[in-house]
Subunit: 248 residues, 2 copies
């Protein structure tokens, strides 16, 4: 069962290992993680695949093994708001567990992506049985909430170039000293949407950021002499102190 591509990809990751080492499951009794691993299904999605839509009945939640996933919502007249863009190690779709089993946003793979899907019913059942699991889920949700609060603040207080600077910083290893080279993880127009601006604005804002901080950009490659170029530019308009939380 499953097409060839799927079968191929199955072999490329160790489901059990992925589950067991994930922060959400780490430290739980072997029999619990084993139950999850047993019912996990690894599946590959090409770039652009819709994973589920807002209002869909939710059967599963997902853990990203590799790739990137966009969470978004659409209005009646076709506008789209990007809620978040997630990558390796992130969980999504799990919030439906207490939302009448309905997804409250849509999800799409935006790069080639490998997902582990796990039944929501199992999660619910295990959470009821294992307090440790509930606590971990609570902790994860709590961390996510703080990030969203921060996001809201950024929209209010940071300019477009500052938001881009902040975005780049969160792509870095933040203890790093000296020159840094990094690559934009996905399309510029999606980064734009993720940061709440239009592609044209993103392009112009990037130009301004470059001019005002001295960082260099070539295609999707970003080069900077050090973090301080960006921190002094972006972090003054943010309430968090610098070595701030990693991008998810």
């Amino acid at each position: 069962m499953g097409c060839i591509a799927e079968a191929e990809y199955h072999q490329s990751i160790d489901v059990y290992e992925s589950i067991e080492s994930h922060p959400i499951f780490k430290g739980l009794p072997k029999e619990v993680t084993a139950t999850f691993a047993a019912s996990a299904r690894a599946q590959h999605y090409p770039k652009g695949k819709i994973l589920f839509l807002q209002q869909d009945k939710a059967e599963s939640f997902y853990i990203i093994a590799t790739g990137w996933v966009k969470l978004f919502r659409e209005t009646f007249d076709g506008d789209e708001a990007v809620i978040d863009v997630l990558n390796e190690g992130c969980i999504f779709g799990e919030t439906a567990i207490f939302e009448d089993g309905i997804h409250h946003n849509s999800a799409q793979s935006i790069e080639d992506t490998m997902l582990l899907s796990l039944p929501l019913s199992l999660l619910k059942q295990q959470m009821i049985q294992s307090n440790e699991l509930s606590m971990k889920m609570f902790g994860a949700m709590s961390r996510y909430r703080r990030l969203q609060d921060q996001e809201l603040e950024h929209r209010d207080l940071q300019s477009a170039p500052q938001r881009i600077g902040c975005f780049l910083l969160r792509l870095c290893n933040q203890d790093q000293l000296g020159p840094i080279t990094l690559h934009l993880p996905y399309d510029k127009s999606l980064i734009a949407a993720r940061l709440g601006m239009k592609p044209e604005t993103f392009s112009r804002a990037l130009t301004r950021l470059r001019r005002e901080t001295g960082i260099r950009i070539n295609g999707s490659t970003v080069i900077m002499d050090g973090l301080s170029q960006l921190t002094s530019y972006s972090c003054s308009a943010c309430s968090s102190t610098f070595p701030c939380e990693d991008i998810k």
Copy 2:
């Protein structure tokens, strides 16, 4: 211990009853709710009192008995972002439980407010012991997260007048038919901040909302012929279908 004012206010609410009937505690074993009730402290705060600041060490979390509380964050150069404005029945400060015991935003009473404060250590301890409590906390957090996601969407996709319309709708009993009268629950400039705009913009946007929907506004009193005036104006730029979630 405790000034006279505080003592007076103590008598005006039934702590045990408030705790027991709160959604977070409802249905928990009597001995658990009793433990919380026993260590709850009711306290009155006049309008404008700072309850805690971002980075403060968190000892307690709070339940609002009456009044309104603003959650906010401040940047180094003095700008302020309002994260949320909460009222009766809302919990806040509890997220510090998994954040190294540090508040990640500031809180201020913006009307005369009566709070129940409860030790975070007790919450943590009880969550470890009671899976049911953990699950309830998770559910509450999950609901809050959905509301924040929606908020982010609104900032992207709704115009200032539409956001005000949406705000008014969430103040209404949404099953209501026919004419509706309601009062703005707090200062217009705070509503403005809550919706991510300046007081001047709020004032002008309100004028436009009035002109374009036909609702009437007099001071802090709002009168409309029915909900449809606003829903057709605001909800087309939102991804949720109308009878949307109550304001907290």
